[in-house]
Amino acid sequence: MEYVANKDNIAKRIARMFHNGDVVNLGIGLPTLVGNYIPEGVTIILQSENGMMGLGPAPEAGQENYDIVNAGGAPVTVLTGGCFFDSATSFGIIRGGHVDYTVLGVLEVDQQGNLANYKVPGKMVPGMGGAMDLVSGARVVIAATLHFEPSGKSRMKRHCTLPLTAAREVNYVVTDLGLFEVVGDRFHLREVFAPFTAEFIKEKTDADIVVDTDCRVIEL
């Protein structure tokens, strides 16, 4: 079975996890792609932790307003019915469990639900930004990641080795191979994304994976 990295499949599957009216925070990078695949008939409300509810698309060239930016500092727009707020209010919304889903990128995620995504000591120390608050505070935490590092190692681990963003807070991991739920210190494989198989995933992942009895193979 040949593996070709597929970020869009990750985004497509995550986009189907939301319900009408859910408040969602999408991290910069891979998670942002999720916004491209929200099913018709479902309206979600995007929160931007720098102070906005109802995050809209980037403005057309020449229409940029640098008073309205996303969490990456890039100009965006606000949708009708959205609103702005200061940083203390924004993180009150996040910490208070008023964000239903947060989708974040991954350096490592382990079967205890630990996430490491903000620091590689000695190499990359960008700071956690709002990620620690998002992972600690959001109702449901989804780790979105290519299954493998460029080296071929799985990003899903028995135990994270990098500094943690938050301990035991991850609910779901969605990779380009499948959808996993973290339950009882194990990854439970809920869905396999065709053409991959549960066997392939178990073989290539150095972690305890329980294949659900009703685990399905789905096409994305």
Binding site: S48, E49, N50, G51, M52, N65, Y66, D67, I68, V69, G72, G73, V78, F84, F85, D86, S87, A88, S90, F91, I94, R95, N114, K119, M124, V125, P126, G127, M128, G129, G130, A131, M132, D133, S136, G137, P163, L164, T165, A166, A167, R168
Partner: protein
Amino acid sequence: MIEKPIITAAEAAGKIKEGDTIMIGGFMASGSPHTVIQAVKEIAPKGLTLISTDTAAHDFKSGRITGIGHLVANKQFKKIFASHIGLNQETQRQMNAGETEVELVPQGSLAEKIRAGGAGLGGILTPTGVGTEVQEGKQVITVDGKAYLLELPLTADVALIKAKKGDKAGNLVYAGTACNFNLVMATAAKLVIAEVEELVEVGEIDPNEVQTASIFVDFIVKAEKLDM
């Protein structure tokens, strides 16, 4: 209502003394007081401690520097409290070289620490950072079986903030996401200098729309340019 002195950016920068702790509003240079920042770079007080959610951008390849990045490049900080320095390569270089101490604070905790400083709280309990490096050296307090970190207040000698509109008494209104940390910083410093894009007479802002009350503002600077 008492009107506040309207001063130049250079006069504002002159109020910062060597070794002061300063807060600067903004998020990746959006909503930062750029006119005052430029003057702080020119007058160049050194040995400062900075409290800000980030240090904007400094890209070595292109040479592009934005916002607070100008002050980092000018080596004015001995210590920086920030939540994110990933887009400022010079901040990272100074940290790695041991030239500047950088304390990384989760963004929500930073906002609450500043708010606590301004609101007379002795600290707040947050779940953020429990079980991570952020926990080191902090008191862990368990409430209803859940662990929280005690995060202590932050205050400053001077806060440099930016508003869309201000009246001559110092009542401020922000726009879009440019409010960010400006709102809490206005409450947490001994001296608050507000850079405003639009300066209006007292009474021209509806009392229902004021976001920062005039009493927090000591000096007003008219924004001269909006480059970042």
